[in-house]
Symmetry: C2
Subunit: 627 residues, 2 copies
Amino acid sequence: MNPYTISLAQLDITPGRPDLNAAKMLQEIHAARERGSDIIIFSEMAVPGYLLGDEWENDSFINDSLSYNEDILAASEGIAVIWGNVYAESDKKGEDGRTRKYNAVFVAQDRKWVSNGVFEGHTFKTLMPKYREFDDERHFYSLAKVSQERDVPISSLLKPFPLQIGEKTHMVGTILCEDMWCEDYPINPTKILVENGAEMIINLSCSPWTWRKNDKRHRVVRSLLKESQVPFVYVNNVGVQNNGKNVFLFDGGSAIYTEDGYLHAMTHDYTEEVLDVQLGRASTATISDPELSDEQDLKEVYDGLVFGLRHFFSTLPTKNVVIGLSGGIDSALSAVLLTAALGKEHVYAVNMPSKFNSHLTKGAAAALAQNLGIHYTIYPIQASIDQTIDELNHLVFTSQDDSKKETPITVTPFITENIQARDRGSRVLSAIAACLNGVFTNNGNKTETALGYATLYGDVNGAIAPLADLYKGEIYALARYINQLKGKDLIPTSIIDVVPSAELSADQDVTQGKGDPIIYPYHDKLLRSFIEFRRDPEYILDLYTKETLEESLKIEAGLVKKHFPTTESFISDLEHKWKLYKINYFKRIQTPPIITVSRRAFGFDLREAQNGIHFTRRYKELKERLL
Amino acid sequence: MNPYTISLAQLDITPGRPDLNAAKMLQEIHAARERGSDIIIFSEMAVPGYLLGDEWENDSFINDSLSYNEDILAASEGIAVIWGNVYAESDKKGEDGRTRKYNAVFVAQDRKWVSNGVFEGHTFKTLMPKYREFDDERHFYSLAKVSQERDVPISSLLKPFPLQIGEKTHMVGTILCEDMWCEDYPINPTKILVENGAEMIINLSCSPWTWRKNDKRHRVVRSLLKESQVPFVYVNNVGVQNNGKNVFLFDGGSAIYTEDGYLHAMTHDYTEEVLDVQLGRASTATISDPELSDEQDLKEVYDGLVFGLRHFFSTLPTKNVVIGLSGGIDSALSAVLLTAALGKEHVYAVNMPSKFNSHLTKGAAAALAQNLGIHYTIYPIQASIDQTIDELNHLVFTSQDDSKKETPITVTPFITENIQARDRGSRVLSAIAACLNGVFTNNGNKTETALGYATLYGDVNGAIAPLADLYKGEIYALARYINQLKGKDLIPTSIIDVVPSAELSADQDVTQGKGDPIIYPYHDKLLRSFIEFRRDPEYILDLYTKETLEESLKIEAGLVKKHFPTTESFISDLEHKWKLYKINYFKRIQTPPIITVSRRAFGFDLREAQNGIHFTRRYKELKERLL
């Protein structure tokens, strides 16, 4: 046995900034060599970053990213370096007619490119994810396509790289992210590499956090290693990358697994860290998988949201944030997260009461601000609302044709609700944020984002939506978790206990227990079925008919019957919510970026079209049969 | 010779509504048979529509769309029917782990599925577009992948369908859209089909209008037919389809080409039409290609925008539209288009002067409203602005910690500009539109959308942006075209002649010739280089150094030197505009859908990430050398 050390470099990668990333990488290569490390491994697309939109079409950017490979090669004296970057062939075209590009891994040692017999110092990603937020197929040519183009089997292209460590040659197979998540593809790159002599598999990833993804990865690695018993190294970056509408959290989770698939070592979440691991010894210690529990899930979401907000604000000119504090649960949770992320000195809360806001919620908002120690003010909006309504009610249009017809306009109570929301979002908060050289947040949750229960240019405004990927029930769970974590009612219990309400009219008076027209414990689950599980009313009505709806959607037993005593009332609500979900995409088009934590978030992750509503023939038949 | 008739069914397809589309198709099949037609051809994805976002993941919707195939089969008594629909294999998985789906063409005749020896009554799209707005690779499995999976050559799968017409069997090769735009792929489906015996190629498309696309298609068809001399039929739908951020115009342009690539017959643009063509005669008449000219381009843009707006509004509850009429060119053009699309009785124009608006522009707004005969009113906003500024200047935040520190806020002149824009967009226009049960429009052009020269929650608001894919110079050209078309100054010349200005401060006083800080004839071209041609400052500086900038970007000779007499001033502006373009994506995330008419539009077409600014090493070297 010849012990040797590999360094898993879990860096915080800045997308679109090869200069910053390469500088950091060079520093870590030097430091690892100083520590006596034999191999240092960086993540997928460590040089350019990964979520860049169509910046991949900018050839100058590609060449710039590639130019740093020479610096890294030069720094590989006395150490092997494995890293992710883009590779380009300017003499070949991609299927879009542009410069052909690959999502590539590079391998250098002792200032030389290491050859795997097929490629000199690099190889390419084989499998191209194109679901959810991924667009690899749009930008990159794959090793699978090279095999098709050259008309050779993929196994003739997937070869390990020989690394010299002391006297010994280590055959190292390198793959990229999706290459390990291969169950729906006809190719298993890990298996082929091991068959081709790889004694170790290294996966370079740029893979965002999602619920229990680390656990799923552990299981996938185990399943891969059943067939191919070699140590498995996973290197992921930390940081935040976005494609505009979705802001993704990269937790890292870099790890090394024994050939049996046990965890040998793992980095800390959301931490920039280079983990040195000694290998090649007689026995390898193992560590347990992290526990799985609802509390662990909430901890990860909380940590992720705080990390994500801190990161997002670090890219802005100042860290100042303005938040409309209504005394409701959503803005309360948002204020807590922002304070944790940015510090109380950067958080400016504004309570903006109209005549419909209760003492209860106004007091709760003030109490929360006090608990957090943030800046606070009250900005009453009733006078402005009254003035606007008065002006509108006196407005008359005149036809500029011979008829000279006059059209007066009238403000209805419903319009008054939206005028209040827009006054807060577009008149008050926007201007205050500008005066403080800061931004403000959209505090909406996923349930109301789905149903459009929010006002465009009103409460949907903001630079970022921290909570828009959490259903209302998850908002409450996270609030309770935080109070438990802090060991005190940081979020006043009155905020958790009050009925959820927009307080935009007398019909939404919380002191009389009146609130939102949404049955959260049911509609959260119904919407999750539509959004995360891609279901529709036909599927739901099918379950309802079979009396398996509550079981299938994990709804509390008896809840459906309680709220919808008749089939008519159930169907009427089902159709109403499907319509709201579909139609209100027009608002989501214009909403801010969402910190993405679910398995399917609105935005670039769940791509929508403004196409109105459709019910299938089978739905209509089912409905007719039931009614 | 046995003459026979084929019918090119260029229908207005409603995306996401297989029920409506199938009903229309069935009606046209019956009518074509009545007229004695032998073959009727519909467009790609004629049943479900094409731009559906991720609705393709809803299995109920897929099954619903598929169910209409049985109705079409049953209707094919005495006629051959060729149409586009989705095909699904529920027993196989796509690479996303979901039900495997194909973009398919179906062929039935005399109530029987026609076999091509490989598939019974259907075949699949071979080439998957994944650039610009296209996401085929995300949703559909391709014939290319089937060939890989089955390990058989693609030529063994691409076979023509035998159609019986009278005594004769016609071998008809069917392809789908991208299959004809194959120059960047290793496979040419047309060539393979003809080699496999096809006597005619039929391309079913769902292909949006873009500048001179029809001309490009004529040339592509000719190039294909050089190798493979058979008649070529192209069937495209009309209508409007969107993916939220981009609204695409489908002009149709269905046509039949002779085996030499001459146009034999062509439908009318933007018209729902079934074109019957008699074939199989001794000689085939040909028609000339439509002329190519700047005027023809403007005509097509004008017709497309009016068609698109009419279509977009037909999906809304009412056709009422509110428009803020400033007296500037953008809102003037928008008002003209809306009036042409919806009728003057549906257009409500509002002039919203503050103290910075000149008599000149106020008068021009009124004159335009009069020319159009639309509803008009004036809503002064200065009092509201003054009130808001006064309130803000008295607002004080108090730290809710022991320091009790007070933070007053101050409204700067720049913030005052934005307060005006938000007052107009979010307080006045939003409420008026709600009162009229209508919507309002964003009238921004592409130049200001690129540079962020607009206020979020202010003038960027609206249900749709008709002009956001036209640079400022194109706005003027279209305005002049319309006046020429109408034979009068429908748009008052004062609007065309006045300096473009936001009129939000005394520094933007049009009566003193002060306007926008943008040199439109230069910056339009610079931005087009960034956006349409995917260039960056390195490329621009390279051209500048080589003194070929004006020539390459089609900028008026001498203009650059005139405005940027020194290299320093040129570079300073270049960097400033690149920064504005990149940073102001944060506004584009929250802007309305854009009617897409260029070769690259903001939104889902040009995918961006909020990643700040990067200059390449080579740019920095070039700059250093120059300065």
